[in-house]
């Protein structure tokens, strides 16, 4: 098992994530796992109950999870948002911009390469849920 990477100060959530279908059926789960084809918006009325949302990336080229993450953060979700599966070091920076704050990659990520990638771009061109000020805002105050 490859060690997860977290950008959060709270303790790791221990309860295993259940499938979306199972979560919508039961009232006591606090962690859910969503697949690329599943609608993240179904979770919006239930975000208060959730401490962990695990967004699955079966293949790194399937970018649906980026939109799922943005939708959840736009809806105000503050808990752990974890990208798991085929997550590669060169995807982590964009995932961070979409609101992911934890990573459970199938294959180990070189943390030195990741740190370099995360620190590389000083500015960004567009607004996302990471709330960094886009370049147009820097230009116009």
């Amino acid at each position: 098992m490859v060690e997860a990477i977290r950008f959060r100060d709270d303790d790791t959530h221990e309860e295993p994530a259940v499938s979306l279908e199972a979560f919508l059926d039961q009232s006591n789960a606090t962690a859910v796992r969503i697949e690329p084809g599943e609608d993240a918006r179904l979770l919006i009325p239930l975000l208060d109950r959730l401490a962990l949302i695990d967004v699955s990336f079966p293949a790194f080229g399937d970018g649906r999870g980026y939109s799922s993450a943005q939708i959840l953060r736009e809806a105000g979700y503050k808990g752990e948002l974890r990208a798991s599966g085929d997550v590669l070091v060169d995807q982590v920076a964009y995932m961070r911009r979409c609101g992911f704050d934890a990573f459970a990659p199938d294959a180990a990520i070189d943390t030195k390469v990741m740190e370099e990638a995360l620190g590389r771009y000083d500015e960004v061109y567009q607004g996302t849920t990471d709330n960094r000020a886009p370049i147009w805002k820097l230009r116009h105050g």
Binding site: S67, R120, E123, T128, H140
Partner: protein, 543 residues
């Protein structure tokens, strides 16, 4: 034209450093080819049949002399002394070494250029009208809007792993010179109640399943442009098909959902997006627009032209277009000489075009989607000298929009996807129809050649289209008629069984002969075809 500020420059410089690091990791074996592929693709680097191909972005097809000269330098230093201008208003180099790629990107960054997102399943280089800022019929310059979109789409974290590539075009006149409705998103600037805004068409494209984009919104205000585009993209990213790469473009989603349902979903997303503060203020559009202000035209320039030199007269008639400023013309440099490779230019030709732009066109050039180069602002009194200099360098074929001004994809000579060669066919056709008098007699005739069904040569949109296929191991060419990429957008239809190389050229002669026989008054080929119908042409070809 637009100039980078410190932020833009920092972004491209950082990209060079990032890609240098990724190439080093690839060369050191830390990245597999599978892992490296999406990274190199987002920097325009393809692995072709014989070598790497690098595609350099020319945003909305506009560049200055210094940038053009750098393109010549790259051709000389890193390639085989030529470059190939593409149907996406870009340039590509076919013989690049992986280890040179970071240095090339650094050279490009030194003149405010890059190869960011010129390939991969992301938002590609934004294209536009090649006559923007010069055309007499535009309501505004579309390029500031294209630049807003360029910045927004660059390094977009949510939309970098889309189901498939994504192309956006922006125009600002009723005449469509950019094949706008054959893009994933086509935007036409329009006025509504005195305000300038964007009309959105979504779901056009060529490829295996050509579609003309339907209009999905008649007006998006300037300060909501980005949130509307985000809404279009998010619906696509979430629901576009990923099970089959040939059904993954947004045109299939729009087609399968239906325009109404896709629009409904976009509007729902847009209502939400509008609340997120994603749109730059109108001051940003104003800031960018200042860079596209008119150059200092001589308002006393004369419209008189001495056309006593018959060859010059032909070139002026065929290759210049009406400029919005009296005393000026738009001059088109054809990269389609007889027996030439459509869109190719040598480093010496590229350098010369850079010089001529600086001398005669306020330091501006454009690349057209039909693979020619435009000098947008030439004083009429300079046209004769300009033409002489072009002619000496083999850059004055007077064939704009004629049958030999063909579009051709790289085809089997370079491309790993191709089934048939496109370039030699284009060359042979240019030889068969070399007589300029005959070409002019045939008039406007858009000939477009693709070497496989992916349609990079836009064969669906040709008045005459040719599609190369593989038939039991031999190259075979299907003939199509009746397409158009202009404001009267239509898709060409296949005439019938295919031909070998000489056979398809004979068939083209047959259909052009029939056109000459059937045409009424000043009908173009496409007009006659539409009036007469396919059956008569079929009959002429197949008997």
């Amino acid at each position: 034209m637009y100039q980078y500020d410190k932020y833009d420059q920092q972004m491209v410089d950082t990209r060079v450093a990032e890609f240098r690091d990724q190439v080093e990791r690839r060369l050191a074996g830390e990245l597999t080819e599978d892992q490296f592929k999406p990274l190199r693709l987002m920097n325009g680097l393809y692995l072709q049949l014989h070598a790497y191909m690098l595609r350099v972005a020319i945003p909305y097809g506009t560049l200055n002399g210094k940038q053009m000269r750098m393109l010549g330098h790259i051709a000389r230093k890193y390639d085989r002394d030529y470059g190939h201008f593409t149907t996406r208003q870009n340039i590509q180099y076919n013989w690049i070494k992986l280890e040179d790629a970071p240095d090339i990107l650094a050279d490009l960054a030194s003149v405010e250029m890059h190869a960011i997102q010129t390939s991969g399943n992301c938002i590609r280089n934004i294209s536009s009208d090649q006559y923007a800022g010069a055309a007499a019929d535009e309501i505004a310059d579309p390029r500031p809007w294209a630049e807003i979109l360029r910045q927004w789409s660059s390094f977009h974290p949510e939309f970098s792993y889309l189901p498939r590539k994504f192309k956006i075009a922006v125009i600002a006149s009723d005449e469509d010179r950019a094949a706008m409705r054959l893009h994933d998103i086509g935007i036409q600037l329009v006025h509504k109640d005195g305000e300038l805004g964007a009309k959105f068409f979504v779901g056009g494209g060529m490829g295996r399943t050509p579609m003309i984009a339907p209009e999905i919104r008649d007006f998006v205000p300037a300060d909501e442009l980005i949130s509307y585009a985000e809404a279009c993209l998010r619906v696509y990213n979430r629901y576009g098909r990923r099970d089959n790469k040939y059904k993954a473009r947004i045109k299939i989603l729009v087609h399968e959902l239906g325009k109404e349902e896709y629009t409904r979903q976009v509007e729902e997303e847009f209502a939400h997006m509008k609340t997120l503060g994603l749109n730059p203020p109108v001051e940003e559009l104003a800031r960018i627009s200042e860079y596209f202000a008119d150059p200092a035209f001589d308002t006393n320039a004369s419209d008189d032209l001495d056309l006593s030199d018959p060859d010059f007269n032909l070139w002026v008639d065929q290759n210049t277009e009406k400029h919005k400023q009296a005393g000026y013309a738009i001059a088109v440099i054809s990269l389609k000489p007889t027996s030439g490779i459509p869109g190719d230019a040598s480093s010496a030709q590229i350098d010369l075009m850079a010089d001529l732009a600086e001398q005669y066109s306020f330091d501006e050039l454009r690349v057209t989607h039909s693979q020619n180069i435009v000098l947008p602002h030439v004083k009429k009194s300079d046209l004769y000298t300009l033409w002489q200099k072009l002619d000496e360098a083999g850059l004055a074929p007077a064939n704009l929009d004629l049958i030999t001004d063909s579009i051709a994809c790289p085809g089997l000579d370079y491309c790993s996807l191709a089934n048939a060669r496109s370039i030699p066919l284009a060359q042979k056709i240019s030889e068969r129809f070399a007589d300029l008098g005959r070409q002019r007699e045939l008039g406007e005739l858009k000939l477009k050649i693709s070497g496989c069904i992916n349609a990079c040569g836009h064969h669906h949109a040709g008045h005459i289209g040719i599609l190369g296929v593989d038939r039991k191991g031999t190259e075979n060419y299907q003939l199509l008629l009746g397409g158009s990429a202009a404001e009267d957008t239509s898709l060409a239809k296949i005439t019938g069984p295919g031909f070998d190389e000489d056979g398809v050229i004979d068939a083209i002669e047959t259909v052009t002969d029939l056109y000459l026989k059937e045409r009424q008054e000043d009908e173009r080929f496409i007009d006659t075809y539409r009036r007469v119908g396919m059956a008569a042409f079929k009959e002429a070809i197949y008997g």
